[in-house]
């Protein structure tokens, strides 16, 4: 097992590595390079790094202008600002023209912790997946984050990648290969499928291990690519297991749970329970306390799985 690393640290290191090989890579930040970790690239390649100051909307359109002239542009800030503040800029100049801009936003979700509501992005995935042609990725650990960034750099078109603030345990195997648009099976199982992304993958695995002791066999899928989502894996899970639990560090609306539900309703109606923020903003606190208070802990996933097993018994 590698030492714990945050996904944003993995981003910074990968950018620095890519910068050596790819002279067409330009990096922009909005006065948060020490937090998004683009400062590693800035130090190594000062000529290809532009700090745009605290002006995120301006930054997104500069990114688009550079991309329109053939550059591969990474633009970083906090997820709250990338998603919310720049919605129109991303819409007009990045998503619709399909510009080669990779928005890599750090500090996604409530695990931002003590900075509180203003800095906890719980809507960004709804805002970014809504755009036609936008690829959206939420890596589960540093290993996957690094590979997702490499994939984005090698794939033309707009990307939104959500990184997190805290250090996270490695959940992907050492020989893991990130495949864009494909769910990764973290654990096979036949009773209930837990579909998670980001830091919730670790919690899903933990919940599955606990439930195994009770004789409940959970499949765990890591849905790192939220868009385009792996439809087949979802339908297969609905066919082969008794129901689905989705788990995300985001509002229930407009994120992973909604995307899965849309597919199930059309293709294979199944029991489903979604774990996410239920129509509310969060607050300051330690990440673990927050995850617990807002129903995003591994115990909550366990409860959701049991609910599906019980409902089965009743029918």
């Amino acid at each position: 097992m590698a030492t714990e690393l945050s996904t944003r640290e993995a981003y910074g290191q990968t950018l620095q590595k890519l910068g050596k090989e790819r002279k067409d890579i330009i990096v922009l930040d909005a006065d948060l390079s020490k937090s998004t970790m683009t400062n590693l690239f800035a130090k190594a390649f000062p000529d290809r790094f532009f700090d745009c100051g605290i002006a995120e909307q301006n930054m997104m359109d500069i990114a688009a202008g550079l991309a329109s002239c053939g550059k591969t542009v990474f633009a970083s800030t906090f997820a709250v600002f990338a998603g919310g503040r720049c919605f129109d800029q991303v819409r007009m100049c990045i998503a619709q023209p399909q510009h080669n801009v990779k928005i890599v936003a750090s500090h996604g979700g409530v695990s931002v912790g003590q900075d509180g509501m203003s800095h906890q992005s719980i809507e960004d995935l709804a805002l970014m997946t809504i755009f036609p042609g936008m690829t959206v990725i939420v890596p589960a650990d540093a290993l996957e984050a690094a590979q997702a960034v490499e994939t984005a750099a090698a794939t033309p078109g707009p990307f939104y990648i959500r990184m997190g603030r805290p250090k996270v345990p490695q959940v992907c195997p050492d020989d893991y290969r990130f495949a864009l648009g494909k769910a990764a099976t973290m654990r096979p199982g036949k009773d209930v499928t837990i579909i998670a992304m980001g830091i919730m993958v670790a919690s899903a695995i933990k919940a599955a291990q606990k439930l195994a002791g009770e004789g409940i066999d959970c499949r765990v899928l890591n849905m790192a690519t939220l868009k385009p989502i792996d439809r087949e894996a979802i339908i297969l899970a609905a066919q082969e297991t008794r129901g689905i639990v989705s788990a995300e560090e985001h509002l229930k609306h407009g994120g992973l749970g909604s995307a899965i539900a849309e597919i199930l309703v059309e293709a294979h109606p199944a029991r489903m329970v979604s774990i996410g923020l239920h129509d509310r903003f969060a607050e300051s606190g330690n990440p673990d306390e927050l995850l617990k208070k807002y129903g995003l802990a591994s115990e909550d996933i366990e409860g959701a799985v049991r609910k599906i097993m019980e409902r089965r018994g009743q029918s």
Binding site: I26, G53, Q57, D61, G65, D88, M92, Q96
Partner: protein, 259 residues
Amino acid sequence: MLRRHIINITGRAGSGHPGGSLSAADIVAALYFKVLRHNPSDPKWRERDRFILSKGHAAPLLYAALAEGGYFPVQELETVRQINSRLQGHADKTVTPGVEMSSGSLGQGISFGIGAALAARLDSLPYRVYVLLGDGECDEGQVWEAAMAAAHFKMDNLTAIVDRNEIQLDGWTEEIMNLEPFADKWRAFGWNVVEINGHSISEILDAFEKAKSFQGRPSVIIAHTVKGKGVSFMENNPEFHGKAPNPEQVKLALKELEK
């Protein structure tokens, strides 16, 4: 010539923005037929000068210039705002040859232009970037974010042109949101400022020359213009910001423009 197209385009569609297209017609004509280094048969030529229409509602003017410039047949102007057309209500780079940026949401052009100008510098290419914006558009905070950044990055290959027709959608700019002292604002943000009569071709061309030779700072040309220029009943008339002429008015306007 461009003005006649603008009247025909908006008249035929029954909607669109004639006022701000007419006010900037001389500026855009000067750019496409005198200033820009471009190649209509190769719209993606890497070294072309970029013209970015930040005030995307002046699409009729841009389309007229592109058609007359040879990017697509003049006849195609008849399809503006119609279903299945390459000529959308506001400029859309994904469908129209020669359009550099999708616009229609005001305030974004200079930012995009900075990106294109930075790319020129990084690649040591000689092209220049021109951005046309409205004066009302300068209410947008992003315009000033971009103004600050362009000066900070010393973008002397970037020229902004503000169509200072003193009218925005709801009325006169000085009543809706006071812009003055306008030139001082740009100077304070670190720009080289050139003020001209935006209907004098010689002053326009002279201003572009000045902007080109100015080093170390971006230039802004504040072009004093008349909204609706060339059509008496549209001139200085906020009504014709976003209202198309009816068939009667089209006839009258075309007659006036023949002179």
